[in-house]
């Protein structure tokens, strides 16, 4: 037993946990709670009925009222437990409510209506995920088509982004040429201007290229990213020039040096950019909304938002929709988080 305690409380080097170790773990536990908590709350909430969502104080798990199908009533009736009055302690089915009184029947005697005070009953409920939130979403549109559109746009755009940005980063990191500083400043500076402030001219430019209403209109305009060039360039700076020289002595052309030597060596940074780019493109909403107007070209994000009307916010649909868009992100994250961490660790420091 003592061994177990020793094992559990051992830090990697010395003896028992110092108070700072406890503080660290407490901080990390708080971190897990803060970072995951809200998202988990959102996911759980997406399985609640609208009525349950409106409830205050909220309950953690989704509940739904228990109903019973009785003879002589077309619809299933909700069950209540009576807390006071002559029927106290019994479970009854409510037929209807009028003002402050509630007309109930006992399930054993469905014909015999009893009137009780509305305040004297509590609903009988059980945990039941409201899958209809999701079902209605899927009924509303062709999920696979939009999923495919999104996937195509995301993957193609990411491939183009990786190629174009890594070429530029290679040039900026590994060649001395006149005007390099200016190019770096200009490219990164201007690309820093967020898309949302140049929407109108960008729309006009895209229109001139005839790319509106095609996946390319979404893919191409965002392909040159400042973050990508910056990230890859910083990483490529750490690759020793001698390796490039060695390859030149090995009669490799510059292009070959780029893709056989520099690209593979930049794999961690490329992985980071790939993940970021996938996230950006998958989550993109504003620009696709402008560039795509035919519903067959819609991305998943647009399709899921397409029932957002003028006048209403329906939390139940909204939450389910959010969870659906979140899902691929969570999957990518689960599989690739190791690369993300090592990748950024090896690029960011410089």
């Amino acid at each position: 037993m003592a061994n177990v305690t020793a094992f559990l409380t051992r830090t990697r080097g010395r003896g028992r946990l110092h108070w700072t170790d406890w503080a660290s773990y407490a901080y990390l536990a708080l971190g897990v709670f803060l970072m995951f908590g809200p998202v988990i709350w959102l996911v759980v909430s997406s399985f609640k009925t609208q009525a349950e969502l409106d409830r205050f104080p909220p309950r953690f798990l989704p509940y739904a009222p228990e109903t019973v199908q009785l003879d002589g009533h077309a619809e299933p009736l909700p069950l209540f437990r009576v807390t006071d009055g002559p029927l106290a302690g019994e479970t009854v089915a409510q037929v209807r409510r009028i003002g402050l009184t509630s007309q109930v029947v006992r399930p054993e005697a469905p014909g015999e209506v009893v009137k009780i005070n509305r305040a004297d009953r509590v609903p009988v409920e059980r945990v039941k995920p409201a899958l209809e939130n999701y079902r209605t979403l899927f009924e509303r549109f062709d999920f696979m088509r939009y999923f495919w559109n999104s996937t195509f746009i995301t993957l193609t755009a990411t491939a183009i982004t990786l190629l174009v940005n890594s070429m530029a980063a290679f040039a900026l990191a590994k060649y001395e040429f006149r005007g390099r500083g200016a190019v770096v400043a200009l490219v990164i500076g201007v690309l820093m201007v967020p898309q949302s402030v140049v929407l109108v001219p960008l729309f006009m430019v895209t229109r001139e290229f005839g790319m509106l209403d095609s996946p390319w209109g979404v893919i191409i305009p965002g392909a040159a990213t400042p973050t990508g060039v910056f990230l890859l360039r910083q990483y490529m700076l750490t690759i020793p020039d001698e390796i490039l020289d060695a390859a030149r002595m090995d009669k490799a052309s510059e292009w070959k040096i780029f893709w056989r030597i520099v690209l593979p060596l930049s794999a961690p940074a490329i992985a980071v950019l790939a993940i970021l780019s996938i996230m950006w493109r998958w989550n993109d909403f504003l620009w696709p909304l402008i560039a795509l107007s035919r519903s067959e070209n819609y991305t998943l994000q647009l399709a899921l938002n397409s029932f957002q009307g003028e006048m209403r916010t329906e939390w139940s649909s909204l939450l389910a929709m959010t969870v659906l868009t979140l899902l691929p992100v969570a999957l990518v994250f689960a599989f690739l988080q190791k690369y993300i961490a090592t990748g950024i660790a090896s690029t960011g420091g410089k």
């Binding site: 020793p240 001698e242 390796i243 002595m249 009669k251 490799a252 052309s253 030597i261 060596l265």
Partner: protein
């Protein structure tokens, strides 16, 4: 490493003469190589040596084609190659950091260059196997560079150069990252490799021991200029100037300044030293520097003509001993004796230079003073 006589069927011996004509390199206004003239004969092992920053690596990179030539001409096998890209000069280079491709296995590292030359696959495999066997890295072929020791990486780097069958090998301080023992071992291996392949090799180092032990000819560089070119012992025995004298030989040559007085030398500490007549052309009153190597100073019994000094430190290595002493004028001198010495710190010693092994230099120009100007080496300051 296999013995030199063994057959190496897939590696043909190619070699070429290397000529540099008034080669100059500037980075902006800074001139780093100033008009170097040099010929490296076919099959010669030529070492560029000099302190850091002397331009030896730049010169090597210019030969390789990785660096442009600002002015002058580089010829390989008689052809001017100034505008020939690095890859097409038929050279191979071993880098200081080895520059192995970290993401490729040893085998891929060795074959990458041959693939670029569009060598048939079968031939690549055979050449690689053969070179690997020769360098004793055949059991490492499927490892990645990060799984190798320093010495193994060095061998791979050399192997990568060898498979290319270059006309000239270029080495850029290849041993500087190794520990002392490995360095001795690799020195021997590179020498044997040269003996076996017979290629022209140009080797850059700042370590004069490497230069002395490996070179057919040494080129001493300083500030982008050639100070002296010659066989190792030639440089040792007849340094052309103070710089070469001080750079070649370990421990360093002792230098004592003085003036010529009636054919003899009066040192600044007041002592008089006899110099052999006829060996030097001396002018009365000229400021000269006396150079004498530590092993050419012989402790003697108290005399008037000897050098009087106080022992400050002693290094006993068992087989050799080094004594560090200070003259009355505060000049440091060191002394190398075979065997063990019974001198102690604080002892007064009298030292007699071996008259046949004296070197005299003009203090102002640093140039060696010699009776016979014909013995001066080719590369003097112009």
């Amino acid at each position: 490493m296999t013995t030199a006589g063994e057959q190496t069927p897939h590696i043909s011996r190619r070699t070429a003469r290397l000529e540099l004509r008034n080669v100059t390199k500037s980075f902006g206004k800074a001139e780093v190589i100033r008009g170097v003239d040099l010929t490296v004969e076919q099959g010669e092992f030529c070492v560029f040596v000099g302190p850091s920053g002397c331009g030896k690596s730049t010169l090597l990179r210019m030969i390789s084609g990785l660096e442009n030539v600002t002015a002058g001409e580089i010829r390989i096998g008689g052809d001017v190659v100034n505008d020939v890209p690095a890859a097409e000069r038929g050279l191979a280079m071993v880098f200081q950091s080895y520059a192995l491709y970290p993401h490729m296995s040893v085998r891929q590292n060795l074959s990458f260059g041959l693939e670029n030359l569009r060598t048939p696959r079968g031939q690549i495999a055979e050449t690689v196997e053969e070179v690997a066997a020769m360098l004793q890295i055949d059991m490492l072929l499927d490892r990645r560079p990060k799984d190798l020791s320093g010495g193994q990486r060095q061998r791979v780097a050399i192997g990568r150069a060898v498979v290319r069958e270059p006309r000239i090998f270029l080495f850029d301080e290849p041993l500087s990252n190794l520990d002392a023992e490995l360095r001795v071992e690799m020195r021997g291996e590179i020498s044997r490799l040269h003996a076996r392949l017979g290629n022209t090799m140009v080797y850059v180092t700042h370590d004069q021991v490497e230069a002395m032990t490996m070179a057919d000819r040494i080129v001493v560089l300083r500030d982008g200029q050639v100070e002296q070119v010659g066989a190792p012992l030639e440089l040792y025995n007849s340094p052309a100037n103070l710089f070469v004298a001080g750079f070649i030989g370990s421990p360093r040559m002792n230098f004592l300044t003085g003036r010529v007085e009636a054919g003899r030398l009066r040192l600044d500490n007041g002592q008089m030293v006899d110099v052999p007549h006829g060996k030097f052309s001396l002018e009365d009153g000229a400021a000269v520097t006396l150079g004498v190597r530590p092993n050419h100073l012989i402790p003697v019994a108290e005399t008037v003509s000897g050098l009087h000094a106080t022992v400050r430190g002693i290094e006993q290595l068992g087989g050799d001993s080094y004594v560090h002493a200070v003259t009355a004028a505060g000049e440091a001198v060191s002394l190398h004796r075979p065997g063990q010495t019974d001198l102690t710190v604080g002892a007064e010693v009298y030292l007699e230079p071996d008259p046949d092994q004296l070197h005299l230099f003009d203090t102002a120009t640093g140039r060696a003073l010699r009776a016979d100007p014909a013995r001066d080496s080719s590369a003097e300051k112009s």
